[in-house]
Amino acid sequence: MTATGTFLSFLWLIPLFPLATAALMLFVGRRIPKAGVSLLCVGSVALSFVCGVGAVFQLLAADPEYRVSQQILFEWLTPGPMQMSAGHTVPFVADWGFLLDPLSCVMVLVVTGVGLLIHIYSVGYMTHEGGYYRFFGYMNLFMFAMLTLVLANNMLLMFVGWEGVGLCSYLLIGFYFLKKSAADAGKKAFIVNRIGDAGFILGILLVAGTLGTIRFTAQGLPDSGGYSGILEALRTAVSSGTLGYGAPALTAIALLLFVGAAGKSAQIPLYVWLPDAMEGPTPVSALIHAATMVTAGVYMVVRMNAVYQLAPFAMDVVAVVGAVTAIFAASIALVQNDIKKVLAYSTISQLGYMFLALGVGAFTAGIFHLMTHAFFKALLFLGAGSVIHAMSGEQDIRKMGGLWNKIPVTAKTFLIATLAIAGIFPFAGFFSKDEILGSSFDRYRSLWLVGFVTAGMTAFYMFRLLFLTFFGYSRADEHVEKHIHESPPSMTVPLVILAGLSVIGGWIGWPGSLGGENRFERFLEPVLTGAVSETGTVKIAHHGLATEYFLMLLSLSIAGAGIWLAYQFYQTKRIAPEVAAAKWPRLYDVLVHKYYVDEIYDAVFVNRVKDLGTWLGVFDAKVIDGLGVDGTGWLARSGSKLSMWWDKWVIDGLLNLGAKMMQLLSYPVRLLQTGVLSSYAMLILIGLVVLLAYYGHHMHVLLRGAR
């Protein structure tokens, strides 16, 4: 049975609702009262969520192999000839079309669902902030862009969403734009993402040039239309032998796309923007920089899995970068004191996990972790926001403590999220992390070890955060202490719902070894068929049940060890953190300063770019302005001087010559005009006499006649 239904044929409504309210907010939002803003903006996301759920259910009604719904709204870039790298030309087209398959189902549900909860939370969190409508306008614009990204049926439209979320990320990080650090953080995020985007767009061009199409798949489109997609083109190329396993073109595509993914999903070396992005309001950190946008890179790699499966070298790069990022960011998180910074590095670390999963070929595990991470990390950020709210804006965990009884709902949900991210059974994080670790154990033991150690570190820094924030004695000053209060229901209800999801969210991927059937993996399988059935997913030599149990026990015990260590450090104080820091001062210093990466980047890249700017400034002043502008000015001045000389001596000279002639000629006439009345009378008389003398004979005749 194929997938049909009302919701499926109106897929485009999902991104449209937030776009409409975003436009409304950004154009006339100032005049809409706060209640109206909340109602419209939360309502539109709720409508998107409803449409999304409806569409997913209608898709689920179909048989697994027919679970693809694709519709092309209109041709966006109309067909034009494009020369392929092989030499022949093909018609190139980009549509404005939407694709709903199991993969985008997961993303749509996560984005709209978690997005809706965060929107509701924001109503409470942002009440006292200025620019309420602006905040919600940007948030809804973000929802539109993110939904366009996950629903796009081709790479170019995906890139539109990709840039859209980048823009909204920039706008929302710099939401408090009067604060210099916030404005700088926004710029940093934008610029670092540009580097990744350059790789992405080169990847798109290379896909177009190699495969002749940028549409992901032709599935779900009528056969008669002659549509082709990347998947189909790859299959044709592989069966005809033009491209094969490990083909350089495919490896190049995969690596370029991964550059884009690393930028958006904050992987080494492009992760530096994410910690700074915490300058934005906390719901933004939860929605954009934890749950949705930063996972776009993971989604994109899974979306292009057909290419990656044929590019083993790129896969290894992804796995290594992911693993290194995971342990690197986790080690920084161990010593951070800002509640949001800890969570930011934790996010980078967890994203590293996801890429590790993708790199070892466990695409479903990556997406599974993406989903569970969206639940518990959004919850952690929202909980942190609730804590910050209660602490009158304080973010330093050294000045917290003892909040367990004062803000009970926040504290309990935070504990659940912490257990989930630490990977404790049966919370959501356990299942997804275990799947990742299991997959990497089969492929690269060394990478498994890295992920395994990271899991321990994760448990340690999260429980360190938990103990310092909620337990022990309060270290806040009296003024703050007096104001501590639980957040309003609009904030706590989303916390509770997300806490529920953090508990049960992993159960849909309940592994076979524990008596489940991993429905999640089966659900996603149709998307991951790949271009060649034999290569399929990169074949993993599946381990036995005993190994699986052993691995589970191992990850549980390292998580337990991390928790125990955090307990000893920060709860019983049996080991003082200061002593440990003093024992390894160099290590501690490096960690506190985040491996000096920002400083190194400043020295190697930022300042070099600034030097280039200075040099260009001098070049501009000396060469462009000096030689070009001033030179032209000098030329014009000299030319006009010449022209002036010509004008003065030749044109004016001719005129003056005429005037001088006139003056000369008129000189004798002037003598007559004395201005003396009597002389005029005299002249009149003389004239009369002359006239009489001349006409005298007439006078004579006249007089004679008279006689």
Binding site: Q673, T674, G675, V676, L677, S678, A706
Partner: protein, 100 residues
């Protein structure tokens, strides 16, 4: 009846006196009076010829000239008074504004 030559001689004499007055006198009022003399010389001429030819048109003309002279005297004296107020002089050789 006196022959026309007498009238013409009188007219000519008056005319010449008038012209000499206009040309030589400095006082503009005297110049104006001399102009009156010239006009009256013309009048005598007209009336004399009118009588000679028995054509009354000449006498009508003379009447017009008398009226014209009165008007001219009024305007002329007005100009002189206005000029005197500005320049405090009625001497013709000081009225050199015609040449700028």
């Amino acid at each position: 009846m006196l022959p026309i030559g007498h009238y013409l001689f009188l007219s000519f004499a008056l005319f010449v006196i008038g012209v000499i007055g206009v040309i030589t006198r400095r006082n503009v009022i005297v110049v104006l009076m001399s102009v009156e003399l010239i006009l009256n010389a013309v009048n005598i001429n007209l009336v004399a010829f009118s009588r000679l030819y028995g054509d009354v048109a000449g006498q009508v003309f003379a009447l017009f000239i008398i009226a014209d002279a009165a008007a001219e005297a009024a305007v002329g004296l007005g100009i002189i008074i206005a000029f005197f107020r500005n320049r405090e002089t009625v001497l013709a050789d000081e009225m050199d504004l015609l040449k700028w």
